[in-house]
């Protein structure tokens, strides 16, 4: 649902170019490839969480069932990505990864069903384009196992894209669905922009904190020197 890489454009050609360049960089090295696949595993895990919550909150049984099936697919994808990531990490001699976990943004509650569904649709479309690109790239490189993985996922992404489009039209009509998808693409781009902004802010915060930390050196050293080691029981610790 949430696309594997942060969106900055919704133009399919640009998505393909980005995926191609990113894929060439990542799949050229098992360590980088492992990290990329593990990132996908976490994204799929987050998607399944959001869809589970949607299935719980939605009041229409048919749509609940759709969200639940979709959630189960995402869970399967997360597992497949995690397994491949683990294998590649081992090839690279790395420690490996823990079971992928994710946090939830409670998107269904926050956005309402129509916009949530539009967001799902936009994310699936973007994911499908990216996965198609990766599959082609990997076939060309002779990495057939990974290419098959992406090809099998593309089938699922197509189905998800199609069902979410159908449900959108049912909920809001053709014009309403288009409008919701346009909104979702704008929102997705905005989220991508904000994510990059947060990353930049994080880097600035880290640098500032490093300076603060250095400035705290005398204080830190005096605490080390002056504070007595604590040991044993006390009634008033």
């Amino acid at each position: 649902m949430a696309a594997p890489t942060p969106a900055t454009s919704t133009d399919p050609r640009w998505i393909r170019v980005q995926a191609w360049l990113g894929g060439r960089w990542s799949f050229g090295n098992p360590r980088r490839a492992a990290r990329l696949l593990y990132g996908f595993a976490r994204t799929e895990e987050q998607s399944q969480l959001e869809l589970r919550q949607a299935a719980r909150a939605c009041t229409d049984d048919r749509r609940r069932a759709r969200y639940l099936r979709h959630a189960l697919d995402e869970s399967r994808h997360a597992q497949a990505f995690a397994e491949h990531a683990q294998e590649l990490a081992r090839t690279a001699g790395d420690l490996g990864f823990p079971r992928p976990s994710a946090s939830s943004e409670s998107l269904y509650e926050r956005l309402g069903e129509l916009r949530f569904l539009a967001f799902v649709h936009a994310g699936e479309r973007r994911g499908r384009i990216e996965f198609e690109t990766y599959a082609r790239l990997l076939r060309r490189r002779g990495a057939n196992t990974l290419a098959s993985l992406f090809e099998s996922l593309v089938q699922d992404e197509r189905q998800h894209e199609a069902y979410s489009a159908r449900l959108l039209e049912e909920l809001a009509g053709v014009a309403g669905a288009r409008s919701a998808v346009r909104w979702a693409r704008r929102w997705e781009a905005w989220r991508g922009f904000r994510r990059r902004g947060r990353a930049l802010a994080g880097a600035l915060y880290g640098a500032t904190m490093l300076l603060v930390y250095v400035a705290l050196a005398p204080f830190g050293l005096s605490v080390r020197l002056l504070s007595q080691p604590t040991r044993g029981f006390s009634r008033d610790p």
């Binding site: 969480l49 589970r52 919550q53 299935a55 719980r56 049984d61 048919r62 609940r64 069932a65 639940l68 099936r69 959630a71 189960l72 869970s75 683990q86 081992r90 420690l95 490996g96 990864f97 823990p98 079971r99 976990s101 994710a102 946090s103 939830s104 915060y205 880290g206 904190m209 490093l210 930390y213 705290l216 050196a217 204080f219 830190g220 050293l221 605490v223 080390r224 504070s227 604590t230 040991r231 044993g232 029981f233 006390s234 009634r235 610790p237």
Partner: protein
Amino acid sequence: MVAILGISGLYHDAAAALVVDGVVVAAIQEERLSRLKNDPGLPRRAVTACLRIAGLTAADLDSVVFYESPFRKLERVLHWLMRSYPRSVRHFPRALSAQLGDKLWVLDQLAELVGIPRARVRTTSHHLSHAASAFLVSPYADAAILTVDGVGEDVTTALYRGCGSQIELLSALPFPHSLGLLYAALTAYLGFEVNEGEHKVMGLSALGRPRYRELFDKLVTLHADGSFELAPRYFAYEAGGELGFSPALERLLGPRRRPGLTWALESSETDQRYADMAATLQCVTEEILLGLARRAKRETGLDALCLAGGVALNAVANRRIAREAGFSRVFVQPAAGDAGGALGAALLGAVEAGDPRPAPLRDAALGELISVDEARALATELGLHAERLSAPAERVCELLVGGGIVGLCSGRFEWGPRALGQRSLLALPAKVELRERLNRVIKQREPFRPFAPAVLAARAAEFFSDAPSDLTPFMTSVCDVRQEFQVSLAAVTHVDGTARVQTLGAGVAPLFSAVLSQLERTTGVPIALNTSLNGPGEPIVAHATDALAFLTAHAVDALLIEDYLFRRPG
């Protein structure tokens, strides 16, 4: 009417508990509702669910009590960031952002989340919450209380005396000397996730020999007064109690185990070495806990002991305490970890408001009900078969006897990390191949992980020593499986001949009890293998949606929700 809401959160295991007029009306872990394992946020959904169960609104609440003091915690974090200078450089930005950006404002956040004036939100202390969560719902009028976990505000271990509704602090052990952190550090060293993999370490320990005691003596020193000290250079305290071993630990014990690798204990010497590490850790843990419990006995002279804190979920150690510390009775509340702090905070608030002590906790079914109607409607859309049964227990028994694995959902879901018959996965206790199927195919977990038996309390003593006891209703201790039954209970007997038994008394989990009674009539043995109804890495099922998702995704034979049996087509 006095209604007090207790809250734990912003670390791991967020939860809410509601006490109305001295009665524990609801207690819910957020993970069950958010579907995020060990949900570390604030328990938004759990708060709503607690109020819904009680039929109250936020305006009816007298107060909201947060389970610890964020201000004292901040003080400890800042102190240790400075004390670990310059090792704390990497953790400094994150710790400051977490404390100052989020945790420090938790009381304002709670006022907003619940929708009550800020003046009605207050705090208590972490270990006192733990102590109250165990003692105030225990069956004892007076008891010694021992709380042991990673770290609260600045205390890692505390000893209290409980008398009626009063709890008095006797002594406490300050950070960084923490049994919880020692266990967490070794959990990470063995390649498991901290705050999640500790029970795996406990399971693994039974397959090893404690032959690294000399090395562990360098990590931790035990004193005659029951206190202990960790050697600072092997731990990374600056990590704030989340993960914490330093490179020195690897130099001492050898390289850590990679996370996610398949365990091969029979064929890999390296894995056997890690199992021996786990066994040594378990042995040291037991000795420390025994020392603390003996001190509790000496200081209080009381006959009963209540245990709380994450370490109190160590069922193997609890058995040794019950046998060797000198107490005649021991009690552990089912959510002994940080989630339990929510219950303790609510109970402390209630007692302070003048409410009587609640009745002893007999049943952990304090969550939301499961809806059969919801399940039926969703099952139709998912293409699942649904069949209404006139005798559900008989049918489940029939499936189990035929070698099936059956999910069971009934009533309100459990409080705490154990499935106790409200959201359980059942199988016959005899067949080892069923255990293998459960471990490999359904739960996808390590092959050494044991499964637990559930037994009717009235017949427990025939099959298990030390059962029933105050510990067995909530699966917080292990018992020896009697020699003559170790073959017929092979799927639930761990390699050391023990089992983490759950006993079901009269009136508890009625549908599950009926299944056990039917098994007794059919096979002569009122015992089932009982494990949690959840997939790998997931919280235990709460609602019908989760239960049917589980059935759709996993190779179980059927799922019983109250009197409806659901199956996958074909």
